[in-house]
Symmetry: C2
Subunit: 466 residues, 2 copies
């Protein structure tokens, strides 16, 4: 069961069989890099490392170390995912500005050999290149004494790398199985779009529980507040549903980005998987896009109101975009509730060109009459002011006393959800880029009109959403 996904037809008894060895092998056959793939990746990594070193030498930049990090360095990458992370570390006392300038200079010098290069920016600038078909990040960082005294978030990575490398040997397959299982469950990935499990987190779970099966079994009984502290050095409390204390930094929760619903989705999938350990958990069937006729059938069957707020996708990276979209989703739902519309559910979809906030309501219209409850009659001053304001005013239907309070039936300003959104959406608290885009224009479409959104990926999303 994925968050907001249709359940599979899974059900059955509570008796947990073990996970069949055959099944694991079948999965590994698909996801585990071949020896040829492994050798090629190792060779490329080694070549890149020496090219970086050579570039630094050519530029006369001393005291740097080149570190190969990430899953490619640890033997825990999924076949076909060719991401290489090369860290260029500078002495801790290097001024930040100098680290950025010199680090990027080395990266650019290296990139002369690449098919493609693109500046990117996290806390520091770094360079993303395509090198012989591999996706490579060249990341300058500080070489600090320990992960607890990092100067920039990326400085942690080499410590993570060291911790995992020293402990994962012989358990790489278990990591691969867990990653692919999480991927199949829709909970793999620590980007702010997914809010799931990071690669490092899966490795720590395997180090802690020692196997994929043990992890899955343990997760069945996880509760929010579940805490894993491998080296027993936690220093502070955390509020996140899952707390996996970073073995290289006692204050950090490696699972900080994991949302409650992804946490619960994982628990749910683990339970279902143990009941019926089948290949489909690792490789779920692709959803097909919803046809126009299917959209109409579903609308007719549900008889609710479906609204879609459509606007141009802001040109920012997903880690900036999605938090703003999720915030917008909340803000729009809150706006509708404020005006007495009942929200059944909401959803966010963002494509290359267009972004859509989907809103399902009990009804898209409300009566003209709105009950406005005032103060109790005996709270004299307030009550009299309230009464004077509404009595005989335009657009007041009626006034009466109910449960000791003045009540006026006033004309509802927005009897249509569509009209409310068209008028008030721009006044919602929105993130910067989303606000800009919405300000430039948006459209609210309703029910059958949704058929005019024909993007393939949107229609796939719609299958889960309506």
């Amino acid at each position: 069961m994925q968050s907001r996904n249709k359940y599979g037809a899974v059900s059955g008894m509570e008796t947990h069989k073990g996970i069949p060895e055959d099944l694991k092998q079948e999965v590994l056959k698909i996801i585990k890099p071949s020896e040829a793939e492994r050798i090629k990746l190792m060779d490329i990594q080694a070549e890149l490392a020496s090219e970086v070193k050579a570039a630094a030498d050519r530029l006369g930049i001393p005291d740097i170390l080149v570190e190969i990090v990430g899953s490619a360095a640890r033997g825990t990458w999924l076949s076909g995912i060719h991401d290489i992370d090369i860290f260029i570390s500078f002495p801790e006392e290097t001024p930040r500005k100098e680290l950025e300038t010199l680090g990027m200079a080395i990266a650019r010098e290296t990139a002369k050999l690449a098919e493609y290069a693109e500046d990117r920016h996290a806390e520091h600038p770094y360079l993303n290149i395509v090198f012989r078909g591999f996706d490579v990040d060249l990341v300058p960082c500080f070489r600090v004494a320990s992960a607890s005294c990092i100067k920039s978030a990326v400085d942690r990575t080499p410590f993570h790398n060291d911790f995992v490398k020293a402990r994962i040997k012989g358990h790489e397959d278990e990591v691969l199985l867990l990653k692919q299982f999480m991927y199949g469950c829709g909970v793999y990935g620590s980007e702010l779009k997914t809010q799931g499990f990071s690669g490092y987190l899966t490795e720590l779970l395997i180090i802690h529980y020692s196997s994929f099966e043990n992890t899955v079994r343990a997760a069945c009984s996880w509760k929010p507040g579940e805490k894993i502290d491998i080296v027993q050095h936690s220093e502070i409390g955390h509020k996140e549903p899952l707390v996996v204390v970073d073995p290289t930094d006692p204050r950090r929760n490696v699972a900080a980005v994991l949302s409650l619903d992804k946490f619960c989705t994982f628990i749910d999938c683990c339970r279902e998987f143990l009941k019926n350990p089948e290949l489909r958990f690792f490789f779920p069937a692709c959803l097909l896009p919803l046809e126009g006729s299917e959209i109409l059938e579903r609308l007719e069957s549900r008889k609710s109101a479906q609204l879609a707020v459509v606007f141009k996708t802001p040109d920012v990276v997903e880690d900036v975009l999605y938090p703003q979209l999720y915030k917008m989703e909340q803000a729009v739902a809150a706006l509708l509730k404020d005006y007495e519309f009942s929200v059944i559910k909401t959803g966010v979809w963002s494509g290359k060109d267009e972004t859509v906030i989907m809103l399902e309501l009990i009804s898209g219209t409300l009566p003209n009459v709105k009950k406005h409850i005032g103060p109790p009659v005996w709270v004299k001053e307030h009550a009299q002011k309230f009464k004077e304001k509404y009595e005989g005013a335009e657009d007041v239907f009626e006034g009466y006393i109910e449960n000791g309070k003045y009540v006026f039936e006033i004309r509802r300003k927005y009897p249509m959800a569509k009209g409310l959104l068209e008028n008030q959406l721009v006044n919602c608290s929105l993130g910067k880029q989303v606000h800009q885009s919405v300000n430039e224009g948006f459209e609210v479409i309703e029910n059958a009109e949704i058929c005019k959104l024909t993007d393939f990926d949107f229609r796939v999303f719609l299958r889960k959403c309506i």
Copy 2:
């Protein structure tokens, strides 16, 4: 402003002028019995009292006293309201059965002179007769030492009579003004239909505040819990909005029947009246019945859903009927809310033949889909049971995890309020006679169909209700 009535167009400044003497005289000219009316009523009362005494003598029943009580005995009756109360009191030690038998025998003997007689029943039986066009109650009661040791509720009346008679002399006009004002505000009458102020209560208010104007001024600042204890002998606490301790019984609240909304309506009217002391407060314009076309106009303007539950009026007295109807009004509103319909307001009307519960809803229909929120995923046993129950079940649209909880979208059993009422009304907690009547049959009509209810009085009620 009356409970559930349209506001008048009254508004204005806070400055309270006095109540013009002219206005009071104008009102009294209409409501105060003429000298001729007074003499006639006194004569009739005296004649009745001696007839009752003679009847007792004829029947050989000793030791009874005849007491003339009620507003007719105290000079506080409104012109044209010809109600006479004659109490036939027996010694305290008379067995209850004997009091009833002998008391009714005397009453029946007296009734031989009447145009009409009808047995009625409060705590005891009593006889209601029409005597020379006057409505007379002949009520047997016990002659107890004080009102605090009564054997039946009616035994209090002679004590009330004595208390008021001894103090009201010279203030009768003030009582008349207050009664008529309350009548105009819709708060006069202590029957369970009205839940307003009793005649005795108005007299006590005048005794306490000494005039109509003082009472009205004081009421402007009343709050729930307002307590008036004329003889300062209150013994217990009360929860009712207004507490007027019975001067003849320290435990009794004379205003116990006054509802919060009638209490507040009176406060509201007093404030408005002092701002604009006008005749219309005593004699509000009669409401006209709503025409069919007006019903349609109002429905179109409000755009809400109006439902009417129509059934045969049970053949019981109003003091039995109305509490059951108000209970039904609450029960039906609760039923609708339980099934997620939003109730705007409700109303009760009961005529000779038909009774109607009016219900205004945000909408009379809801979507087929209903969101059913289950336990958190981590409450393992409950969560799994919930999921097994709904997953893949018939009439389930979709299941997902939201805010850590399993959610299933199930098919709503009653997407129409009308269908819900037709199916479930008989399962509501209803009073005995109302339940019987509803069980024999009822109809739920909606919106424009309401036009087929053409009773004049219902259409007047409808003017206040939709």
